[in-house]
């Protein structure tokens, strides 16, 4: 069984797989009740893919993202990132993984309020190995003229674009976005999605977007639908649509 799985993974690397998961389960044990957040998830994500995870609240998509992003550990199963078993990493190595390979974008931006847009990006580029210059990263998300503003002086959409710039400036191999447009109106949401799409295309960063907004699925290469802690279906989208063509 193990041998077969490893062979599969070896094959997967050959065919450009960046990250794989096998048999992921996650049980939250609160003492009185056991909540099964994930019930055996297998997946392979290729370099440069843009994946949208769809599913109702509590279906396990955030839990999956947390585990793939190195924020949480599965109860069972393993995650392989470029041939290394992420699930065996120590806390310190997990931090390194997040630091050098992963970009995060949160629903509520999570910018540091005491730092300007440019400084928020610099916060990450200072600890990265081969970063994009903060100014350039902000330029990519169309905020070059706002880079000396503090978060409190920016709109929600602008703040989220700073978050995108912050996430991509380290040139991550993989970008995790948890409801990136959840707190935005549709017009601003589109701006943010355009920024994400642009980054995915230009930098080739593998991108995972969690959403329960079905419309966003149209911009993905593949759509994973979640239900009760499992992947219910995987849909391959023929032609990715531009965010501006999406409506919700």
């Amino acid at each position: 069984m193990n041998i077969r799985r490893n062979t599969n993974i070896a094959e997967a690397i050959d065919d450009g797989t960046l990250i794989s998961a096998r048999g992921l389960t996650k049980v939250y044990d609160t003492g009185e009740v056991k909540v099964h957040a994930l019930r055996g998830v297998d997946l392979d994500i290729k370099n440069g893919e843009l994946i949208v995870l769809l599913g109702p609240s509590g279906s396990g998509k955030s839990t999956l993202l947390n585990i793939l992003g190195g924020l949480d550990r599965p109860t069972e199963g393993e995650v392989i990132f470029r041939g290394e078993t992420l699930t065996d990493f120590s806390d310190a190595r997990m931090t390194k993984y997040r630091r050098h390979h992963v970009g995060f974008i949160f629903q509520f931006y999570n910018l540091v309020p005491s730092l300007t847009a440019r400084e928020n990006v610099a916060l990450v580029t200072e600890i990265a190995d081969d970063p994009i210059a903060p100014d350039e990263a902000l330029d990519m998300v169309g905020l070059a003229d706002r880079m000396h503003h503090f978060p409190a002086e920016l709109s929600g959409g602008e703040q989220q674009r700073v978050a995108v710039a912050r996430a991509i400036a380290k040139r991550p191999e993989i970008l995790f976005c948890d409801e990136p447009t959840g707190a935005l109106d549709s017009k601003t949401g589109v701006h943010v999605l355009e920024a994400l799409e642009d980054v995915n295309r230009r930098l080739g960063a593998t991108t995972l977007i969690i959403t329960h907004n079905v419309g966003i699925a149209d911009m993905a290469d593949r759509v994973f639908r979640f239900k009760d802690g499992r992947i219910d279906s995987i849909e391959i989208v023929g032609r990715r649509r531009k965010p501006s063509e999406i409506s919700w």
Binding site: N110, V112, E119, N120, H148, H149, F150, R166
Partner: protein
């Protein structure tokens, strides 16, 4: 049906949630309360013990010594208006020879009536019996002396009484309210091995000192309406022809003065230290509540929407502060009671009360609790009122994000070459100056308190150093039974081990300046004295001026005189001349408040020729035993004091006390620093938890994130240290002034090492609590951050 209302349940849960911070504040309150309870508790124990002892053993109100007065004079004294009881006695020094103990020792011989007991200053008999009136060599010895030598009833020792060796037998062991603090001649501290009080029958002492039908000491008890000063004047007038050395009130009685001075120090301690703690606790409560109310905005809105009134909301948060304070009060009571017991026991070693009554002053509990509660309400009021002012609708909207905006400071800081985490620290400091100031002041207060208390050990060092190394660098001091011709000095020079001898002549005098007067000893010294020296204001040695009187600055202050002022000196010995003399110099003295005069000039004033009353001696240390033995055989010597013994007794006595007191102060000072930093760190962590967790998600290590949290505190603590040194120096000054008395003056000296040690204690406490909090960074919930909005 529940006994606790829902809102009080919330209060209890809030408290449990805040337990670390609440406890830190409670501990600071506890320290303040404990010190007040300790100081006032010890004070009331001392007071009670003293009062009971004085009362039961009839400590006198007025004391006077004469050269020799007929017994019949007592009747005239009793006729003075206001005098209720007068009792005469004989009281003289003797030197002792104790088998197996080579150092010279001294005893004060005090007479008891031939039949029965004293009326005043009665002896408390621990064991044994009174001396038999027919056996002149029986004594009752003071307990501390007996204990120090391990004597038992029936043991014998030799005393040189008025030049004759006598074998005395201990038949009783006693104590007296006059010698609660037993100081031998020339001693700075009680030295039980080298000084004792012996009570003997009057007849025995009359014979020994050739005082048949006469007395040399008298004690009075005054009536309720007596005017003490006029009694003293009248008594001095009556005793003057008989060589009266000046009567004095019990306030000036040596043992009593030391106890009073100690009690005064306790009072000052209770006044000065606890407010510092309560101030810090009030500041911390304020910071804690402001933060709590910010996180509970929506709950407050909800409560108001449900119909809770503004006063109810304000009271809710005041109650929280009171609950924290109450815990502190209870801990402080316990801790203070423990410390009071410890202190009372420590005092029991120094002060010879027959029974150390341990009482708690009820008022100390009430007073400290009251002060703590006032501080709590003051600290909580501002924040609680702001909670009460919140409008329900407004409160239920989450607070707007921390608004950092581009201002001149931010623009400037953007240009500084910091990394972003450092920039976060700087901006946060500038953004919340009030909170930074709380931490800064709190830590500075801790540092100040440490300096303000621990500096006393530096002062003590300076006092001792000045005394033993500079002003009194002799090896031995002798006092003669009576002033004697200067050929006695030549005789001393012939004793084994003696390298050189310097004469001194001390006379008792009343020094008058206008309406003010002080009793003081005028010490006559040769102009070229080296074994007893005087220091000017700059601590430089200078010779005793040929002319005029040299005053210690303390005495000058009491008399309100400066250099050039004329003083009237009423000499109380010999021919009792009255001398008008100018003040020609001032000396810096830390111990007692003497006056000096050139010995030749003094002798001229006294019309006594070349007379000496004592001598300072330089010894060959290897022959000090031979010297001790030989000197005791000299008939004319009333007391001998070895400086080496004094140094040793200082070390023995002070070592324990110092280490205990230092640990107590270090712990309480450290507690403030730890509490302040812990609270600041916890508040920062709560407030910025989300921000810091985000950084962890972005790949910052725990240490990198801790840097942001702790870096800010490190800056504040480092800024606080110099400020604390400044405050500490001020506090030391206040303390030094408050603790100084006629008996000693505390020099305000703070060694660099003391600043260092205090800073180190603060740093260790601060770093310890910061590390404690930063460990929580590892537990920050990174997942929650992704989901929740602040």
């Amino acid at each position: 049906m529940s006994f606790i209302s829902a809102i009080d349940r919330k209060l209890i849960r809030d408290l449990i949630h805040l337990k670390g911070q609440a406890l830190a504040v409670s501990i600071i309150v506890a320290c303040g309360v404990a010190i007040m309870v300790m100081a006032l508790g010890t004070l009331s124990s001392l007071q009670q013990s003293q009062e009971t002892y004085y009362d039961r053993y009839r400590f006198a109100d007025v004391f006077a010594t004469v050269k020799r007065a007929p017994d019949s004079l007592a009747r005239r004294v009793r006729e003075i208006e206001g005098v209720r009881v007068a009792e005469t006695r004989i009281s003289r020094y003797a030197t002792l020879k104790i088998e197996g103990f080579n150092d010279p020792a001294n005893a004060l011989l005090v007479s008891v009536p031939d039949f029965g007991e004293q009326i005043l200053n009665r002896t408390l008999m621990h064991t044994g019996r009174w001396p038999d009136a027919k056996r002149p060599d029986e004594i009752v010895a003071s307990k501390s002396f007996v204990d120090a030598h391990g004597f038992e009833l029936g043991d014998q020792l030799t005393a040189i009484i008025n030049g004759r060796a006598r074998l005395l037998t201990i038949v009783g062991i006693g104590d007296s309210p006059e010698y609660i603090y037993t100081l031998g001649p020339g001693n700075l501290l009680p030295d039980d091995k080298r000084f004792g009080v012996f009570w003997m029958r009057r007849k025995a002492l009359e014979a020994a000192f050739d005082l048949n039908g006469a007395f040399n000491d008298i004690s009075l008890v005054l009536g309720r309406n007596a005017k003490p000063n006029s009694v003293i004047d009248e008594l001095d007038r009556i005793l003057a022809p008989y060589g009266g050395l000046g009567a004095y009130l019990k306030e000036d009685q040596l043992s009593n003065a030391f106890i009073e001075s100690e009690m005064n120090q306790l009072k000052n301690m209770a006044k000065i230290i606890p407010p510092v703690f309560l101030l810090v606790s009030a500041m911390l409560l304020n910071a804690l509540l402001i933060r709590l109310i910010a996180t509970e905005r929506q709950q407050i809105g909800l409560l108001k929407a449900f119909g809770y009134t503004s006063p109810e909301i304000a009271w809710h948060y005041v109650k929280l502060a009171l609950a924290i304070t109450l815990l502190g009060i209870v801990m402080g009571f316990g801790f203070g009671a423990m410390l009071a017991r410890l202190m009372t026991n420590l005092y029991g070693d120094t002060f010879r009360f027959p029974v150390m009554i341990f009482t708690f002053s009820k008022s100390s509990f009430a007073f400290s609790a009251g002060a703590a509660i006032i501080a709590a309400v003051a600290g909580a009021l501002n924040a609680s009122l702001s909670a009460a002012r919140l409008q329900p609708a407004e409160a239920m909207i989450p607070a707007p994000p921390e608004s950092y905006r581009r201002g001149p400071i931010q623009k400037f800081s953007a240009r500084l070459p910091f990394d972003e985490p450092t920039r976060m620290i700087m901006r946060h400091l500038v953004r919340w100056p009030g909170r930074g100031a709380t931490t800064l002041l709190g830590v500075a207060a801790a540092q100040a308190l440490l300096i303000g208390t621990l500096f006393m050990f530096d002062s003590l060092d300076v006092m001792l150093d000045t005394f033993f190394e500079r002003t009194d660098p002799y090896e031995a001091m002798v006092n003669f039974v009576e002033p004697i011709g200067s050929n006695a000095i030549e005789e001393l020079k012939d004793l084994p081990g003696v390298i050189s001898v310097e004469a001194s002549r001390t006379v008792a005098a009343k020094i008058r300046h206008g309406p003010r007067f002080e009793r003081a000893g005028i010490i006559g010294l040769p102009g070229n004295a080296v074994y007893k020296q005087i220091l000017n204001e700059n601590d430089e040695v200078f010779p005793v001026p040929e002319e005029g009187l040299t005053l210690s600055s303390q005495l000058a202050k009491m008399l309100d005189v400066g250099i050039g002022d004329q003083l009237t000196l009423e000499i109380l010995e010999g021919r009792r001349p009255t001398i008008i003399s100018p003040v020609t110099a001032m000396v810096n003295e830390y111990i007692s408040s003497p006056a000096y005069m050139n010995i030749n000039r003094l002798n001229q004033h006294l019309f006594e020729g070349e007379v000496v009353s004592g001598a300072f001696i330089k010894l060959d240390p290897s022959q000090s035993d031979q010297f001790s033995k030989a000197v005791l055989d000299r008939p004319v010597i009333a007391s001998v004091t070895l400086q080496s013994a004094a140094i040793k007794s200082f070390e023995d006595t002070l070592e324990d006390t110092i280490s205990i007191m230092m640990s107590i102060y270090a712990v309480i000072g450290g507690a403030i620093a730890a509490g302040v930093v812990y609270n600041a760190a916890r508040i920062s962590l709560t407030e910025r938890g989300r921000e810091l967790a985000s950084l962890r998600v972005l790949g910052f290590t725990r240490h990198e994130v801790s840097y942001i949290l702790i870096g800010e505190l490190v800056i504040l603590v480092l800024l606080a240290l110099p400020l604390g040194c400044l405050f500490g120096a001020a506090l030391a000054y206040v303390f030094g002034q408050a603790m100084s008395s006629e008996l000693f003056r505390i020099p305000i000296v703070i060694e660099p090492a003391t600043y260092g040690v205090c800073a180190l204690i603060v740093l260790v406490a601060a770093i310890g609590s910061a590390v404690l909090v930063s460990r929580r960074i590892g537990q920050l919930d990174m997942i929650a951050v992704l989901k929740t909005r602040e």
